[in-house]
């Protein structure tokens, strides 16, 4: 398959989470994935998009960009918003990613356990979350 990717722009509405899920699943399914793997990716992406809607924009109007591409022998999904941004202190302290923390966000814990890599990149405005899932080249081998 030739190099493939997508960029999707949607308003930050709850009813669009399902939309993103099936788009990402259809895209990921172009590679040889099992349904449980697809489900992992769908759940992780849902968490990231829901965060942008709820935390990034506080349920106010805004746009979310979702990008997908295959690279580094896996699938990258980026979820980008231009909302209030995620607390840099929180990320540095790894509070959002540490399951040992007192009140850890379950969303990021989830994303981390379902994906092979999760990166949180605070933008000048808003947040970018990069999710990476390794895809076995040939599982029948």
């Amino acid at each position: 398959m030739k190099h493939n990717y997508f960029t999707l722009t949607i308003p930050a509405l709850k009813e669009n989470v399902g939309l993103v899920r099936v788009l990402v699943a259809s895209f990921a399914a172009q590679k040889d994935l099992t349904l449980p793997e697809l489900d992992d990716i769908k759940v992780a992406v849902s968490e990231a998009v829901t965060n942008s809607i709820i935390h990034g924009y506080g349920n106010n109007p805004g746009e979310i960009i979702i990008k997908g591409y295959f690279a580094d022998e896996g699938l990258y999904i980026e979820v980008i918003d231009f909302g209030k941004g995620i607390d840099r202190e929180k990320i540095r302290e790894k509070a959002v990613l540490d399951p040992e923390e007192e009140h850890p966000g379950l969303g990021f814990i989830f994303m981390q356990s379902l994906m092979d890599r999760v990166e949180i990149i605070p933008g000048e405005r808003g947040t970018k979350v990069i999710l990476f899932k390794r895809i076995l080249a040939d599982r029948t081998a």
Binding site: G18, L19, R21, V22, A25, S26, A29, D32, T34, L35
Partner: protein, 77 residues
């Protein structure tokens, strides 16, 4: 026909797994039931509610068991 079937299958956006197929056929079954009950074509939302799964998943599953190519595309290119 075998050639065409293989073409369609190989070009399916998702390798149609068993459980996905199950969702799709259940959706079609529910659709038939609802046609009987409402005496009209049910909406996707009504089917999804009956199945208790998100409507996008109904759409996704049904698409996976469908002929994915353009009807008027030359099959052999």
């Amino acid at each position: 026909i075998g050639e065409i079937r293989r073409y369609l299958r190989d070009n399916n956006p998702i390798r149609v797994s068993r459980s996905l197929r199950d969702v799709a056929y259940k959706a079609l079954q529910v659709r038939d039931n609802l046609v009987g009950r409402f005496s009209r074509e049910p909406t996707v939302n009504e089917i999804a509610e009956e199945l208790k799964i998100p409507r996008e998943e109904v759409v996704f599953a049904l698409d996976a068991i469908q002929d994915p190519v353009s009807l008027f595309d030359p099959i052999y290119q």
